[in-house]
Symmetry: C2
Subunit: 331 residues, 2 copies
């Protein structure tokens, strides 16, 4: 398989719930007005805590500093695994499961933090720019590695990476097993033709920027075991949306599509306390057992927590699996 | 003819050019998300100076105070003239011309300030709430006057209005004749089915909230004799748009309609210096000669200046007429 280091240089930021309206202007530009910005990588995910915005440096320029904006200080680079036809994997699973053993586990062993961003189209593995040589060295055995430069894929040799390589010196230790939460909502992972994005503009704006004010009116009991989670990304011209079925009903049915009709996903939310960015092995904690059982999963990291989406029919076995894992870890 | 005093209680405000992005959130709500607001009267007009926003008290609540928001201190009430079938007028003209002699001139004589807002559907004459009894007294001879209350039209008798009537005591005097400017743009006055408003959302958002940043790129020479003027209103569910042909080209042609295809208008902009709200007779200055010549006109007041739109084919005679007026006044 091939591993591509994409040319985007990304920042990971968070906007507070109460501060979102101060960022309506730049966010609407980044979402809908492609001709007005050079941003090519944009992702916005609403969780109950905040809005996580991951975007390239061109997009980041649009976000004015304020007390409502938190910025992780690193530059992150997105990696992307591409099956080159002669993949030996017999797995039918998709998403993060497919790369659990080949990418996620080895990086966790090397104490490299990863920030995952699954989309309808693919799975981006974000790593810190400063960790890149460790990443290349670690993954070079398993992958042909290419670096995207000016639209071309340039092969990267592990030796090159070793020049000046400082391996993460931390001693390997048993990772914390984080508590998980399994909300009741059913999610769908969708896309649409970017040319039809204007057709869902008012609905998307309503859901993203005005749905909190509405929540006050809704009977609280309805939401007791559901979680607010909505993710939009526009990356290299491809749109991806992750939303629950309640949000989905607000959109015109004819514009959004999913890979197979009615495919629904349940969420496993990782972390009892905000996870931070420095701990390693969080994605591995959940993707390893999923890979062992060949269960597909999308995986979306946010500023505070991680979120895996697994097929609805597998949620019981995944729940059991995670309980066993906690028992083994002595939690 | 009937004169209706509508139930809306309006505020006239202005948002500075540089402050608009701070108001993107409430303005998008007021324009596109009718279900999220109780505002029934909303009008936004961009001029080179600022954005004039006229809206009812429900809408006004959405605009947080800031250094970028100027608010005229009065409450304004919109009046609306309705032909009740047996109108004696032989005029073919539409818009403010039709009410020049019956409404505009008598109010100017009584020193009542008016703020005009023509739309695709009708012409609103805004008067200050404190002037209402003078207005009723002044117009009762010519009109049957009704006050809209809870969706019903209640007849208003001039005697009622005279209780506590204080006529504006100022001595009638010859009004200042303000300089006018006649920009080169051609304008159209358009509407669309409010249910198709989402279909123009991204274009409208682009034009309203992001077109200034684009202007820097445009060759300045192109704009030398053109004026930035764009007006959107959503009043009682009816949408009206006034824009120049350059802006019009950005919109999908199939959604917007105008009363007769290709009807184009030229602008007469009134005032060399910002006009303020207290001077009377400004609308009369231009609508009287138009009425004498039976030339149709839309009329849009903004925070700083007044704007009349006359049919393209009449612009030469209107220009001559206004020059004669200035000569007569000894300017």
């Amino acid at each position: 398989m091939d591993l591509h280091i994409l040319a985007h240089r990304l920042r990971v930021t968070s906007i507070s719930k109460s501060g979102l309206q101060n960022y309506t202007h730049p966010l609407i530009k980044l979402i809908f007005l492609r001709n007005r910005t050079r941003c090519k990588f944009f992702s916005l995910t609403e969780t109950p805590e905040n809005y996580t915005v991951v975007l390239d440096e061109e997009g980041f320029k649009e976000l004015h500093p304020s007390e409502h904006l938190q910025v992780e200080c690193s530059t992150w680079l997105p990696l992307n695994v591409v099956s080159n036809g002669n993949a030996s994997s017999s797995s039918q699973a998709v998403g993060v499961t497919k790369i659990a053993k080949s990418v996620i586990a080895p990086l966790a062993e090397q104490h490299v933090s990863v920030f995952m961003l699954s989309t309808y189209q693919t799975d981006f593995i974000l790593v810190r720019e400063k960790d890149l040589s460790v990443v290349i060295h670690t993954l070079a055995e398993e992958f042909s590695i290419f670096r995207e430069e000016d639209g071309e894929s340039v092969p990267v040799h592990s030796q090159d990476a070793c020049n000046g390589l400082e391996r993460n010196g931390k001693e390997a230790h048993h990772s914390t097993v984080h508590p998980v939460m399994i909300p009741q909502n059913q999610f769908c992972v969708m896309s649409l033709d970017p040319d039809t994005l204007p057709g869902i503009a008012t609905t998307l704006i309503d859901v993203l920027f005005y749905s909190n004010s509405c929540k006050d009116d809704a009977p609280a009991a309805d939401d007791l075991e559901c979680i607010k989670f909505f993710s939009f990304s526009l990356i290299d011209g491809y749109v991806s949306l992750v939303m629950d079925t309640e949000a989905q009903r607000q959109f015109p049915a004819d514009l959004l599509f999913t890979s197979s009709s009615g495919e629904l996903w349940r969420m496993v939310r990782i972390g009892g306390q905000p996870l931070g960015f420095d701990e390693c092995g969080i994605v591995a904690q959940i993707s390893q057992p999923l890979a062992d059982s060949d269960i597909s999963a999308y995986y979306i990291s946010t500023f505070s927590f991680d979120h895996a989406l697994v097929p609805e029919e597998d949620i019981v076995s995944v729940t059991d699996m995670l309980q066993d894992q906690r028992k083994d870890a002595g939690c």
